[in-house]
């Protein structure tokens, strides 16, 4: 869909796991981006 909208898009092979495995830098997910799952309790 992104490509249909004109964005030049690529997919990183292996995702975050491959990125970490290659020793590339990561950072903590900001609190604002955390979406808590609903709970039944």
């Amino acid at each position: 869909m992104l490509r249909e909208k004109g964005f030049n898009t690529f997919v990183i092979v292996g995702g975050l796991a491959a990125w970490r495995k290659a020793g590339e830098p990561v950072e903590s997910v900001p609190e604002n981006d955390l979406v808590k799952l609903p709970t039944f309790s």
Partner: protein
């Protein structure tokens, strides 16, 4: 030894083991076992209440294990369970969406929905449902699921005999039914696989290639985008440094955060 004679000799144990296997997340179409058991009940080689007991006990046991694993392992377990799926991302999203949308009652119907069946119990655990409430709903679901397929097997036995008169024995007929069901299941998986292959039209880049680009003067034209579902975002989670997150289920709205002047590199887990 055909399935019916196997059912006649070890029917209760077989039913128990096959349903337990499905309940703990193995990709086995246990409904076929129930249909075969239903046919065995119709042939008076098995006693219905015992078969039902074996089936429901196995399902409850497996689901209970999954519930507690979900409680303590959360999304890690869901991700693991979805690894056997053709599209793990879709598997998690579909299951989670269904659960959110329908609420706790999902447990009652979950076993009939491919993808959701193995996810419902760990989702219930992850979402802190009270165990006894989970057990009550799961019991109802296990009963409905087991009775439905046992009944199908029970009622279809005579029908199948008429349709498949050319076969030497009912056991052969049941084998054919089982094979046909497996073929249908395989075709379904192939169709699903082909459907999801369309995602592969997007060019793929290796980590090293992207890292090299980030280290070059060209880095300003790169935007790394995290498209994991929020379920992956357990507290303390990590992401690629400098990446932004967009919600894949709300893509139209999220496009506002992206620039067409940059190359977009998407990643998930």
């Amino acid at each position: 030894m055909n399935l019916l004679s196997l059912m006649a000799r070890h029917g209760y144990a077989l039913t128990f083991c096959l349903l337990l296997a499905e309940a703990i997340g193995l990709p086995f179409p246990a409904a076929i076992a129930l249909v075969a058991a239903g046919a065995a009940v119709a042939a008076h080689t098995l006693w219905g209440p015992y078969v039902l007991l074996a089936a429901v006990t196995a399902l409850l046991l497996g689901d209970t294990v999954q519930f507690w694993l979900g409680r303590y392992m959360g999304w890690l377990l869901l991700g693991f369970l979805c690894r056997v799926s053709i599209n793990p991302e879709t598997c998690i999203l579909r299951s989670a969406e269904s659960f959110y949308k329908r609420g706790k009652v999902t447990l009652v119907i979950a076993k009939f929905i491919p993808g959701v069946n193995t996810m419902a119990a760990p989702l219930a655990g992850s979402m802190k449902m009270r165990f006894w409430q989970f057990l009550r709903l799961d019991f109802v679901g296990a009963m409905i699921y087991s009775l439905t397929y046992l009944l199908v097997g029970f009622l279809s036995r005579d029908f199948l005999k008429v349709v498949l008169q050319g076969f030497h024995a009912a056991g052969r007929a049941m084998e054919a039914v089982v094979v046909a069901a497996l073929v249908v299941y395989a075709v379904y998986r192939v169709v699903q696989y082909r459907k999801h292959r369309m995602y592969r039209v997007v060019p793929r880049v290796q980590v090293q290639e992207l890292a090299a680009r980030l280290a070059s003067e060209d880095a300003g034209k790169v935007q790394i985008v995290d498209v994991r579902s929020h379920g992956y975002y357990d507290s303390g989670g990590a992401r690629i440094k400098g990446s932004i997150r967009i919600e894949p289920n709300n893509l139209e709205e999220e496009l506002k955060h992206l620039s067409k002047d940059k190359d977009i590199y998407l990643y998930c887990t």
